[in-house]
Symmetry: C2
Subunit: 391 residues, 2 copies
């Protein structure tokens, strides 16, 4: 038996207990929980085959009461002795995409980000559209290209047309960007025809991950009117390996900023689901931005309520992301197009002036939040390196 040592300042202490999927040379992909620098094999430790599967989906589908019960059992388990064969060093395992993505939706919930993008994409118009403060604007993305943190990102090719060019040309993206976001994973779905009220959020959403919504700004700018972003986004979306349970985020709940005008009744919350999550965006190892999630105008409970209010079903594995997290300050912007103001105001990265991503660049997005025991819990990271466009 093993007692798992948790360093005092670990972002993976007992207040966190995020779930992931791991394999070892002798173990097929299966569910694990991270504790300190260890991964506990849940199928072995709890004796439950639902954790012996290659994704968390079957467990997530079991619903809220099970999530509570399993978290309680894990808490008891790791406070005592765990069988040796159920404990692995995190550095010795291979991590996998923790859930099978059903539908992927991306919102646009930061007023700072939406205003900045409006100014950059539509310089001669009001930055916020008339609908923006009435509903959480969102759109569907490509579920099949959601990849695990650490996956290299090949620079996409596509059609680009600068405003001063007569016709589009085809070639590698020239304005490759990131978007630092928080993603929410639906565990328990909802049937067709049954909207999910804001107050039922925690009964449906299992947990949260970090998301990097890689964006090809030149491709996006040319294609996105009138049906929205498509190839400018669909080449890759990276997510972190550990799903932080919503149950671990109780201490992070804060009110959203004041919403004016008051939202329609279906978007009103009785208890707030704003989240005090602090992001850090590192560009080639240097932190260039610290976006504050507590500034997000729309809460994830409002996003889920909106997404289902027309009767659309939700499924286990649905991923919906917040949209870029940007605060009011320049060094709180979660996309480089905002941080460098469309490339016109470069930032210094390790002494080099940078605007958009260059081949070989690496971006690491991380985040922490207050945990129930006074520690800070961590989301780990979502990491990606840019490779040159393929031949």
């Amino acid at each position: 038996m093993t007692t798992i040592a948790v360093p005092e300042d670990s972002p993976f202490g007992l207040a966190n207990l995020p779930y992931g999927v791991f394999s070892t040379p002798g173990t097929a992909p299966r569910a694990g929980v991270r504790v300190g620098d260890s991964v506990v094999d849940l199928a072995l430790a709890l004796g439950d085959d639902v954790f012996a599967r290659p994704t968390l989906n079957a467990f997530m589908a079991q619903g809220y009461e099970r999530w509570v019960e399993v978290r309680r059992r894990i808490t008891e388990l790791v406070a005592g002795d765990v069988p040796d064969e159920a404990v692995h060093a995190v550095g010795a395992v291979t991590l996998h995409l923790p859930f099978e993505v059903a539908d992927y939706v991306d919102f646009y919930a930061s007023e700072h980000h939406a205003s900045n993008l409006g100014r950059l994409f539509r310089p001669n118009a009001e930055p916020l559209m008339p609908n923006w403060k009435h509903l959480p604007v969102g759109y569907h993305g490509r579920a099949g290209t959601v990849v695990l943190s650490g996956t290299d990102i090949v620079r996409p090719r596509g059609q680009r047309k600068a405003p001063d060019e007569a016709a589009p040309s085809f070639g590698p993206c020239r304005r490759l960007d990131i978007e630092a976001e928080l993603g929410f994973v639906v565990g328990a779905g909802s049937p067709l025809g049954t909207p999910v009220p804001c107050d039922d959020f925690a009964r449906h959403v299992f947990g949260a991950v970090l998301v990097n919504d890689w964006s090809a700004r030149d491709i996006q700018a040319w294609e996105y009117v009138p049906l929205g972003p498509f190839l400018g986004k669909s080449f890759a979306t990276s997510v972190s390996a550990w799903v932080v349970p919503l149950l671990a985020l109780e201490a992070a709940r804060v009110p959203t900023p004041a919403q004016d005008p008051e939202p329609l009744p279906y978007l009103r919350e009785n208890a707030p689901w704003g989240l005090d999550v602090e992001f850090a965006v590192a560009w080639n190892g240097q932190v260039v931005s610290r976006p504050p999630y507590r500034e997000m105008y729309w809460s994830p409970a409002q996003m889920l309520a909106h997404m289902t209010v027309n009767g659309a079903s939700a499924r286990t594995g649905d991923l919906f992301a917040s949209g870029t997290v940007s605060g009011p300050e320049r060094d709180q912007r979660g996309a480089f197009i905002e941080l460098t103001w469309g490339g016109r105001e470069p930032v210094a990265v390790n002494g080099e002036k940078r605007t958009f991503l260059e081949d070989g660049d690496e971006v690491v997005i991380s985040a922490t939040a207050p945990g129930a025991d006074g520690t800070r819990i961590g989301f780990g990271e979502v990491r990606g390196r840019v490779l040159p466009a393929g031949s």
Copy 2:
């Protein structure tokens, strides 16, 4: 043994042989092929367990050579005698969604439709956006709400704001519409980073289905700027029960209309994939429109090439639809917003003036195409009835 009788004018003759999924009181959902008014149980008839699954996905994933081989074997089989227990009357079986939808993408490939919608949604601007003739405009839809023909459609609720209203209100959709489309089902996927050239279309796309992309025009008009349609579409998308193999559509291939300007090289076809498919749209039993698919500006091979040119992978079960099929004439328009010009020019349906869909209305979209043996092959139908908004 049974000899399957095929009526001479059957749209399901030997030139068609579409695949579906059916069950009977004694048989769990499994693959079948439709021949005349019969369904042949493929797991039994061919002795292959890949057809004993509840979707076609595993078979579709086996790839082009297998599709050719199985079609040859079925052709031989049904020309002779088939074991009694493998043959069911189509009226005696329950049909199911024939494939599990991975990602769902909807294009906008009819110049007539895009021009009409442009005039209706943006009356003071050029109807076609500058990008429209350079690339097949498309966006991702909600895979989880793709439903089988025959599923009732509950009128969605949502936010609507007419141009003359000061603020949005919430309630049942007041402008519920259809879109008659052809959908293409990916059988053999493509890996991340590997675009599919136009000329490889038939090696990846298994077959085609009819699609009704139900649309809440008032919800869509209020929400869609800048990120595209979302709740105005995501409540339901209906597909027909029979997947017509691409191999059955060889005789239907025609050139697309002239494309000017010439598309960029990755969008050029060496052999045409326009399709001479004739649609009929029946509103409460009366045919109100006959949209001609051969008028579509962009071919489905161009759609797939575009969708993957940024390196996005395709997966077995991906569904991409053409967008509304509309021809140049009024009675060739595949959406009621066009047919009734935004509701201002009602059509007579069984003597009643109609604009948008009313509760209880039923829409049946059907289509046929020339088959290799001189007959016309049928897509069957995609049917849906509108139920009142839920409480």
